[in-house]
Symmetry: C2
Subunit: 335 residues, 2 copies
DNA sequence: GCAAGAACCTAATGCGCATTAGCAACTAAT
DNA sequence: ATTAGTTGCTAATGCGCATTAGGTTCTTGC
C-alpha cells in the first residue's frame, strides 16, 4: 500500500479508503488508486488484515477418520467441492485437516481458536453424545453441523441436515409394498447421529407394521464388513429378502457376496444402497440407491456458515429428502 | 502475551524470549513464563507471527477438476491424508481449494502469493506444457510437484514421482510372457504427464518386441468412457487379449462391459488396473492391479516441501515403482 | 465578508508478535 | 580500583493494514 500511495501521489490512508470503498476520497482519486493497485497486482495481506480485526478469512474443516478407512468415498470430495464453490466467491480459504478421532478433532478446534486461524468451522459426522458442539459453543467459534439433527442445546450452532428418518420411512414403504417382510439394514458406524436415526426409524416402522424380522447391524462402512454381514445374514435358515446398505461401498460388496452365495439379485434378494455414485452403475445389476445432491449439501452448509460469519442468526436448514432411484437391484420379494 | 507478562511479572519481550527459546532470560524466568502461558492456554496468533516475518505456517493444495468428475477416487484422500500426517507434526495448516481448471489454479496461486497466505504449495497432476511450474518459479513460491517427471527447466521446484515408465515396462513384460500380443491401454486424460509417459513407454516396448497391435486410447478417467472404449475395442474382429486401465474405476467398468459382451475374464481377456483400491476387490473376478502406497507418496511430498521451507535445496525424489498385484483378472492369453 | 460546514486529504495509532537497541547490576580481568 | 565483559531484563520499533483524530482548502449561508 505504501507503494501504491507513492505511485498515486497520495497518503497511505487515502489508499486504504479508496480500496475499501470508505468515504474520505474523491471518486477521481479512488479510481486512480484502484488502477495503480491493479497495475501493481496488489492484494491485501491476510495476516495484516486479520491483525487489524478483520478475521482470518478462513474456514476450517476437519475430517476425523483413521487413515486406512479413507477409502473409496465420493461423498466428501463432493461435499468439499460444493463448500468451495460458495467460499471461493467470498474469497474465503478452507483450512483442511485429517485426524484420527474426535478427540484430536477437538484439539484442532482449540488450537485453531487460540491461534485465531479460522473464523468458523464446518463439522461433519455428528454423533450421539458429541463433544464438539459443546466445545464450539464454549469457544464461541461459529460452526455449522453437517448432517446433524436439530439440536436445541446449542443455539449458537447452525445445522444442515437431511431427513434420514423420512427417507427411511419411504424406503420401508417401498420395500413393504414389494412384499418384503424380512429386511436387514447394514448400517454404518454406531454412534453417528444419522446411523442411529436410521436405525430408530427402521425399528419404529417395523413395529408399526408388526414386522418382527427386521433389524439393523452396524459396521465400519468398509467393504469387508459389508461382505461379512451379508454372508452371515444370507446364511440363515430364513434369509432376508431385502438388504439396505448405508453406503455404496458396502452395497457393492454385498451384491458380490450374494452372488457368490448363489443368491440372484433382485430375484432372491433386493439390494438398496444409501448412497448413489458411479459405483452403483459399475456393477451388474445396477444398484437402486438413495440419491442426494452432495455438492448442493456442501453449498448449503457453506452458505449457512457465511451467514453466521456475517452476524446472522444460527439456523437449522433441512435439505431435500434423498430420493430412491430405482434401478435393477430391487424387485418384488420372492414368495 | 501482555497478560502472560503481567502474570509473570516481567516484560512482554521477556515473554517472547522465554517462549521462543531465545537467550536473554534466566532459566527460572523461562520456566515461570512457560507455566503461566500454559495455564492461560496461550497460543501465538498466526497472523501476528506472520506479520513479523515468520511465514504463514500454511501450505496450499489445489485440485483442478470439474465438480462432476470428483467422483470415486481414493487416491486424493489418501494422498492428502499422508500429507497431513507430516504437516501436522510441524503444525502447518493445509489450505485446500478445488477449482475447475489449470488456469483457475494459476489464479489461485497468484492470489495466495500476493496475499502471503501460504509458504509453499503442492502441485498435482502435472501436464505436458504445464504453466504451473513456470509460474511458481517466477513467483518464488516453494513448490513440490507430485507425480511429475524430473524437470530441469525449473530448478527451484522439487519433484516427487513414481516411475511409470518402469512400471509400464514390467507390465508389458508380464503380459508378453503370458502370451498377450494384442494389448489396449485405456489411458487417462491426455495432457497429463504420467498419461503421456505411460503411452510413450508402451509404444516403445511394443516396438521393441515388434508388436503392431498394441495401442493406447485416452479417456477422461470416467467409468462411462472406460466402458465405451472397452465396448469398442472388444467389438473388433481381432479383439485385444489384454486391457490395461489407467485407474480402478475404468477397470471395474471395463470388466462389467466385457462380461456383458460375453467375454470371460481372464480366460478371454485379461484386465489390469493401474490403481489399487478396495474397488479392485469388490468385483468378481478380483482385479489384478498396480499397487502403490498413496499415503506414503503424500508423506514424501510433504516432507520435501517442509525441507524446501527450511531452506533446503530442491530435490527430485523417486518413490518405489508400483508393484503388480496379481489377482484373478489376468491370465494366459487364449491361443 | 465572515463564520460554519463540507469535502478531501494526511498523520498517528493499534492489532500481536519478533527483534534490536539499550540499560542496570554484577563479575572477571587488569 | 577501574575497565571490560556478561547476564537478565525493559523499552522501542516494525511488519501491513484499518481506523480515528486532525488539518487544509473550498463551498455555502447569512
Amino acid at each position: 500500500m505504501k507503494d501504491i500511495a507513492r505511485h498515486a501521489g497520495v497518503s497511505q490512508s487515502a489508499v486504504s479508503f479508496a480500496l475499501n470503498g470508505r468515504p474520505g476520497v474523491s471518486e477521481g482519486t479512488r479510481d486512480r488508486v484502484r488502477q495503480v493497485a491493479e497495475e501493481l497486482g496488489w492484494r491485501p495481506s491476510t495476516a495484516a488484515r486479520q491483525l487489524s480485526g478483520e478475521g482470518a478469512a478462513t474456514v476450517g474443516f476437519v475430517l476425523a477418520r483413521p487413515a486406512d478407512t479413507l477409502g473409496v468415498d465420493s461423498f466428501f470430495l463432493q461435499l468439499v467441492s460444493g463448500i468451495q464453490e460458495v467460499l471461493a466467491e467470498r474469497h474465503l480459504g478452507l483450512l483442511f485437516q485429517v485426524v484420527e478421532d474426535v478427540d484430536d478433532e477437538c484439539a484442532v478446534y482449540r488450537r485453531w481458536w487460540a491461534e485465531h486461524r479460522v473464523d468458523g468451522v464446518l463439522v461433519v459426522d455428528p454423533r450421539t453424545a458429541d463433544p464438539r458442539p459443546g466445545l464450539l459453543d464454549e469457544l464461541g467459534l461459529p460452526a455449522v453441523v453437517i448432517g446433524g439433527a436439530p439440536d436445541e442445546r446449542h443455539p449458537g450452532l447452525s445445522t444442515v441436515w437431511a431427513d434420514d428418518a423420512g427417507a427411511m420411512a419411504s424406503v420401508v414403504d417401498e420395500l413393504y409394498a414389494l412384499g418384503h417382510r424380512r429386511i436387514v439394514h447394514i448400517a454404518g458406524l454406531p454412534g453417528l447421529a444419522h446411523t442411529e436415526r436410521r436405525i430408530r426409524t427402521l425399528r419404529a416402522e417395523a413395529e408399526r407394521r408388526g414386522l418382527s424380522e427386521v433389524e439393523s447391524v452396524t459396521t465400519d462402512y468398509s467393504d469387508a464388513e459389508g461382505a461379512a454381514v451379508t454372508r452371515r445374514v444370507l446364511g440363515r435358515p430364513a434369509p432376508p429378502t431385502a438388504l439396505i446398505y448405508d453406503n455404496d461401498v458396502m452395497a457393492v460388496a454385498g451384491v458380490a457376496t450374494a452372488a457368490e452365495l448363489g443368491f440372484s439379485v433382485p430375484a432372491e434378494v433386493s439390494v438398496l444402497s444409501w448412497e448413489d455414485s458411479a459405483l452403483c452403475r459399475m456393477v451388474k445389476p445396477w444398484l437402486s440407491a438413495l440419491s442426494r445432491d452432495s455438492v448442493e449439501f456442501g453449498r448449503t452448509a457453506a452458505r449457512e456458515l457465511t451467514a453466521l460469519l456475517d452476524g446472522g442468526p444460527a439456523r437449522t436448514v433441512r435439505v431435500p429428502v434423498p430420493q430412491v432411484i430405482v434401478r435393477d437391484s430391487t424387485g418384488a420379494a420372492r414368495r
